[in-house]
């Protein structure tokens, strides 16, 4: 396994790969790898000749009061996990490699970046789209694998790739959950044991809502109310948003119809968690 830290290292390695006509599967991460990331790596490995993992805690996607400095970093453990999965290359650049002095360029997927998490985290998705465009140009993978837990990120990055004509296919993979249903996230580490227990309310509320839809409920306001009430009753989590939106364009729905994304964000103390489910309704 190669750990490439410079552009020359990753580009030389990939030039070889391309010359040999091998396909590249790419999993971009911020490290602190968990089973969710590993599921992406396994799929990338299975579907491509070569699997590349990038680990870069991207400063431009954190707001001034967010958790950039305390975001979990554990290079040793991440490298070990990647080795176990037989990953071919880890791209592990420094901030100076990704944003050298004099850096000036930013990419925005308008509209989609302003709703849901974008409303609470202004500039967040601009940072995400910028760094992913850079990584796509560096790695030039056939396929990029993302986790559905970050549903809005998946929608935005699919749009980015289509709008800017990147020669990469984006595949969103199912959220991996703890046995009690909590979506795996590097940020779960921030939770106290009480908060950790309470946080299961996100997925249980989403499941409750999904079941109501399966039973015939079509009023989006009622669905949202159900989720909000459930979270408020069963936890001290502070709700950021509960939304029922079109899963492709993220536009809010009044009636549950088509491919629907039900997404939620809530805070326990300073820890902000997100989760979502989707359902197709005729």
């Amino acid at each position: 396994m190669l750990i490439a830290t410079t552009l020359a290292q990753i580009q030389n390695a990939l030039a070889q790969t391309r010359k040999q006509g091998k396909t590249i599967g790419f999993v971009p991460t911020m490290g602190a790898l968990h089973e969710g990331h590993l599921s992406l790596l396994r799929r990338a490995k299975k579907e491509n000749h070569v699997c590349i993992l990038s680990i870069f805690i991207n400063p431009t996607q954190f707001g001034p009061n967010e958790d950039f400095t305390k975001y979990p970093r554990d290079k040793k453990k991440d490298v070990l996990l990647a080795k176990k999965e037989n990953i071919d290359i880890i791209f592990y650049p420094s901030e100076k490699i990704m944003y050298p002095p004099g850096y000036l360029t930013y990419i925005e997927v308008t509209k989609l970046s302003d709703v849901l998490c974008g409303r609470t985290r202004p500039g967040h998705f601009k940072g995400v789209t910028t760094v992913i465009a850079k990584l796509l140009n560096i790695v030039r993978p056939q396929t990029m694998y993302l986790g559905e837990k970050d549903a809005q990120q998946c929608v935005i990055l699919k749009h980015l790739v289509k709008d800017l004509n990147f020669a990469t296919k984006v595949i969103a993979c199912p959220t991996v959950r703890e046995t009690d249903g909590l979506a795996m996230s590097s940020r779960n580490k921030y939770l106290s044991s009480t908060e950790r227990k309470e946080a299961t309310v996100l997925y249980s509320s989403l499941t409750l809502a999904k079941n109501e839809i399966k039973r015939g409920l079509r009023d989006a306001m009622k669905i949202r109310y159900l989720i909000e009430q459930n979270i408020r009753t069963l936890s001290r989590g502070e709700i950021d948003y509960v939304a029922c939106v079109n899963a492709e364009n993220l536009e809010p729905l009044t009636e549950i119809k088509g491919h629907v994304l039900i997404a939620v964000a809530a805070r326990w103390g300073t820890t902000r968690l997100i989760d979502n489910v989707s359902i197709s309704v005729k």
Copy 2:
């Protein structure tokens, strides 16, 4: 010569080229080809196995009161000229191919896009960087050739390519001029015969300034004043700006020192012309 109008056509043709290990030289244009464009095509042809010309009048780089609708279009003549130069592929997409319904993504090279022409044409360079990023992803050339007449555009696009890690080298080529010194431009067609004669004042003033620098003048304000006075005395051109800036970061200079760009923009009626010279001073 292939004239590709769809993404599939250009991508299939280029997939072949890449498989054969051939290098691609790329010249992006808005058509209305003149000797300036042809000089770029000749260099691209000479330095690469395959030469691609794109012709696309990019709506996102025109302001609401600019000349998008009347911009010269002459497909037949452009195709003929390209054939004469033995160009391999013309990419000639429609607006719908480049900006399909639901298009949302824009790229900005901050700071550099706000000065000089960017001040008079807000949003112009955002349109340029966006369309060039798209074209670079579609064509994926080893080298892109640009004309130095659009000096600010060259600086911005070099920055775009570096910041976003495109695997393309950008080469700026010398401005091609009419025998009386006027820089070749598709917009010269708009000029009346009187305006056409007067417009030579741009280059003659820049040359005058350059000669003064060669003779030892180092005061940027005096250089700018000299150019302004010359244009005002010899023509009815309305000056948009006369600037002495650092040629790499476009920052204004008080002292002529280093790699200096002297740039000018002026209007004759609704026709806006630009020109520039550069000089290296120890």
